[in-house]
Amino acid sequence: MLRLYGRITAITHMDTEKTIGNDGSKVYEVGYIIVPSVPEEKVQSHVDALKALLAKNKAEIIADENPTLRPLAYRMQKKIGATNHKFDQGYFGWIKFELDKGSIEKIKVALDTDEAILRHLLITTVAENTYLGKSSLLIKEEGAAEKTPDAVIAEGEVSVAEVTPEVVK
């Protein structure tokens, strides 16, 4: 899995140039999963700590989403202290921010060493909104609507078949 992650970061670095601002800053996005053993009321304090760290490094937050508890697609393992812990769910949240190129390493180290963070994904992205969220469901409906012409034809055939016996009668 680590090897795969390495490949992903390699791909990420390929499209970095277009995301570099005029002042040498880049747009990053960090997605993170906080361990579910953290009580829900304390999750916000972890987010605030992360935002404070970003502010300390003069990052400008563009967009973010607060962590929500959600099931993980597969079981993840994290070594906390001396024992391995397995998790089936976690609080997933993300922050998009603009930061000076040189400072990202500090953020990465902080994320790596934070025991409350089960896993994180640090990528370069663009300042414009790329996350469709619930509006992606609307596209799905349009896709369904596209299928209707076929359905209409099928219905038309059926109705003709239904009508003809009546005509015969």
């Binding site: 899995m1 795969l4 997605g31 697609a73 993840m76 997933f92 414009e128 469709l132 992606s136 596209i139």
Partner: protein, 70 residues
């Protein structure tokens, strides 16, 4: 027999950047086992397919999509 050319899903819906968090979209391009579907079958443009592959891999890493489903 030649198949009719399908228009790319992402250019049709004007999606320039594919986000790994949009799992509802990504799920359309993985099969029931969790594997990616080839562009031969989906009709996605080469550019979008590269972005899509990256997005699916990222979503898998962060636990939004499965690596495998039995």
């Amino acid at each position: 027999m030649a198949q009719a050319a399908k228009q790319c899903y992402f250019s049709k819906n004007n999606i320039k950047q594919i986000d790994y968090k949009d799992t509802e979209i990504l799920k359309k391009f993985i099969n029931p086992h969790g594997r990616m579907i080839s562009r031969k079958k989906t009709g996605v443009s080469a550019r979008s397919q590269r972005q899509l592959a990256t997005a699916i891999k990222r979503a898998r890493y962060i636990g939004l999509l499965p690596f495998v489903t039995r």
